[in-house]
Every structure is written in structure tokens, then in C-alpha cells.
Amino acid sequence: MITKRIIACLDVRDGRVVKGVQFVGIIDAGDPAVQAARHAREGADEIVLLDITATHEGRQTLLDTVRRTARELFVPFCVGGGIRSADDAAQVFEAGADKVSVNSAALADPMLIDAIGRSFGAQAVVVAIDARRDPDAADPVRDAQVFVQGGRKLTGRRVVEWAREAEDRGAGEILLTSMNSDGMRTGFDCELTAAVSEAVGIPVIASGGAGTVTHFVDVFGRGKADAALAASIFHFGVSSARSLKEELAKTGVSVRLPC
């Protein structure tokens, strides 16, 4: 039976894992290669590395980081942040990523999704979408607004129609972050996740808001998520993917155990 995936996310800046709440109060959370290996050892089903480095010099650091992180990692490894072209993607794959996640660049030029998919297969293209509910829309959830640049810039796109376009262009998965919930630890946005998951035929990874085991139970149930991503609850030894999955299994969620 297919299992629900628990994905550990590492936000990386200048080659170090960082964590902040809604982009403020950022603290150093260690070396990405060490952290990724630890998460894999502790039962994470997949690792996502999101690079939030802004500078050009940082791009080379990223490739080194990806190479070091991938070296001893034998679970799926997705890398996102700053991938603007099929060439950027090729470099990240060559460094050892199995998937790339594209966000702003895909919104600016949706053909990027087609291009990466053609060269590396749909399974290698994750389209990340940052969405915030729109209280003024007829349907605040399905018509949630899509943002880029870490939530600073409105795109004019609506979440469900953009997710469908991404699928049509050959995306293999959608990584959906609720900006209303991100970093709050108050639970995933299950309505938003379900709206997107029901609208597309590809897997949806829910992100933003993980804080307790119940939040994961809800997003896999009501939220119809195929996978869920969390960063902060796995840092500093607060919890491990394994202990989370053991708790999920008790509630009847199908997960990869032992792991």
C-alpha cells in the first residue's frame, strides 16, 4: 500500500541551515549535509533543500552544498531556490538532486516547467506554490492568491488554476505552502490543500503550519495531501520523522515503518 510521505525541509542560506518564523529571527540550525543525513537516518521519506541565498556567489556555494548533501543520501532529494533556467536545473541534477523545485521562475516563464520536464522527466519537476487565501474572492480558498519572492510580491494568479497549468505543462508534483499558516505551528491549511489536491491528478505536498501530530493526521485526511513537509519541528531534536510516523501509524495513517 502506498504510504503518506513525511518530508524534512532544510532552508539553506550561504551554505548553512537556517530557521526563522515568517522570515524574522533567523537562527543557525547546522550543516545541511549533516542535517539531511540525520533526517534520513531518523526516518524522513524525502529531503527538500530550499536555498534562500540571494547572491550570485551563493549559487556556487549551493552546488557544493547539494553535492556534499547528496553524497551519502539514499532517499529522494529535492532542491529548490533560485532555479531560473533548464541549465540551472541541469547543474543541480548533476550535483546529485533527484528533483528540482521551481517557483518564481516558473511563474515568470511557465515554459520552464515544460523544458525541465522534457530533459529530466516529469518526476523531476516539483512546482512550488506559495498561496494566501483571498477573503475578497468568490471562493477564498480555490482562488487563493499566488505570491512570489518569499510572499512579498503578488502574481495575479489563483492557486487552483495555476496548479492545473503546472500539471498540464508536465509538473510531477505540487509543493503547496500556505502563507497563512507558514511558521505558525497552528496546523496545515487543510481546505487549501484539499482544493488543490482534488483539482490535479499529481501528488500534492502540503507545507506550512506543522506543529503537532494531529496536524499531520488532519492534512492527510481532510487535506487529502499525499505528503507533508515540515522543517521546524524536526530541528533541535524536538521530534523525529520516525516518532511522528509511529504516532501517525497509531491513528491509522499508512506510513513507511520501520524506517
Binding site: 502506498i2 503518506k4 539514499f74
Partner: protein, 203 residues
């Protein structure tokens, strides 16, 4: 242990090479040169992406070299699209023939019940006497990402359930294939690749 990995430009080889090297294999890659296939001790045909990409094996003339190596008894492992290529073909690219080592045809998962592609960790029901999957216990999981699959037949080495039962591994003589990605399947995947590397073959 020397392994010849065939690069037919279908996706990314890095993960497969890394896993084989991690297990101590000496890896050589060929994308058009026959010589490494003619002297191969073992062959791995990886592959992610579209079945149509296997056309390159025919265009470069590697297909007959692979066929000859298989006839010689060289242990052969196809991964994902590399497994599907061992069959007669796939409805993903009906005009492109496979090797035909296994007579059946690969088809797409039926739509409507579950999401297609099948992405994630799923379990294996291993058939008795599989050499490739020796030591894999019931309930161990491996990582899949695919929309097309091979049918369950007498040559099936493991069955996985998603929408319907399909062949997650196939094995006959020196020819083996896995639909999942052993290079991305943690300790279980490394054990399976290790079995392939340790198997002496029929040569």
C-alpha cells in the same frame, strides 16, 4: 566488481552511479561505445522519464550489443524505464519497441481511482526464490515514481499494489528489472543493489 552503466540520455544518472560506487563497484558509463558492453561484467540500464527515450539505444546501435551481452549470460539490471524496456514495449510510446526479452507490454495505470503517477514509498510482495530480492522482508518499502507498469506474470519477482497489482520486479535467468528506484530506497534499496552486485551470474 565492475559495472557498466548505459547512458541513453533519459534523465539523471548521478544517483545510480553514487549508489553503485557506495557499494564498492567500479563503474564505467557508456552512451554509444559498444566496447564496454562487449567486455561488461555486469550491466545496469537506469532511466527516468519517457519510454520514447529508449529509441536512442536503437539509434546508437547499443541494442544488439546489449542483446548479445544478455545471451552471453552477463547479469543485467534495468531500473524504472530500464525495466520497462525489457518488455515488448509500452503504451507510453507504442511506436518504439522494447527489447522483447519479456513478451508482455507495459501500460498506463487506469485513471480515476488514485493519482497517476504513483509516487512514493510502497511495499513489495516478494515471490519465493528471487535472487535480486533475497533478504527483503515483508513490509519493507521502496520508492516509486512512474505512470506505466508491467503486468504480473510467471517472471514477476515482486508484486506491488497500486490501483491494481503490478510487477515491481522481474527476474528470469540473468535478466532482472525493478520498477522502483533502489538507489533512492534507503537501506532496502542498497541491499537489492548489493544482491545484484554479488550475484555471480550464469556465464
Amino acid at each position: 566488481m565492475r559495472v557498466t552503466v548505459i547512458d541513453y540520455k533519459a534523465g539523471n544518472l548521478t544517483s545510480v552511479l553514487k549508489a553503485l560506487r557506495h557499494l564498492g563497484a567500479e563503474v564505467e558509463v557508456t552512451d554509444s561505445d559498444f566496447a564496454p558492453i562487449e567486455s561488461a561484467e555486469r550491466i545496469v540500464l537506469p532511466g527516468v522519464g519517457h519510454f520514447a527515450a529508449t529509441e536512442r539505444l536503437d539509434a546508437t546501435g547499443l541494442t544488439p550489443a546489449i542483446r548479445a551481452a544478455i545471451a552471453r549470460g552477463v547479469p543485467f539490471l534495468g531500473i524504472c524505464v530500464g525495466m520497462q524496456w525489457l518488455y515488448a514495449g509500452s503504451s507510453e510510446a507504442p511506436e518504439q519497441p522494447g527489447l522483447g526479452h519479456f513478451a508482455e507490454f507495459c501500460t498506463r495505470f487506469p485513471e480515476g481511482q488514485e493519482k497517476v503517477p504513483h509516487v512514493g514509498w510502497n511495499s513489495l510482495e516478494v515471490r519465493p526464490n528471487s535472487r535480486l530480492l533475497a533478504g527483503v522482508e515483508p513490509g519493507e518499502y521502496v520508492y516509486f515514481t512512474h505512470s506505466y507498469k508491467a503486468p504480473v506474470t510467471a517472471d514477476t519477482a515482486a508484486i506491488t499494489q497500486y490501483i491494481e497489482p503490478f510487477a515491481s520486479a522481474v527476474e528470469r535467468g540473468n535478466v532482472m528489472g525493478v520498477q522502483f528506484h533502489p538507489e533512492k530506497s534507503g537501506a532496502t534499496g542498497l541491499k537489492i543493489l548489493g544482491n545484484f552486485l554479488a550475484w555471480k551470474g550464469t556465464a
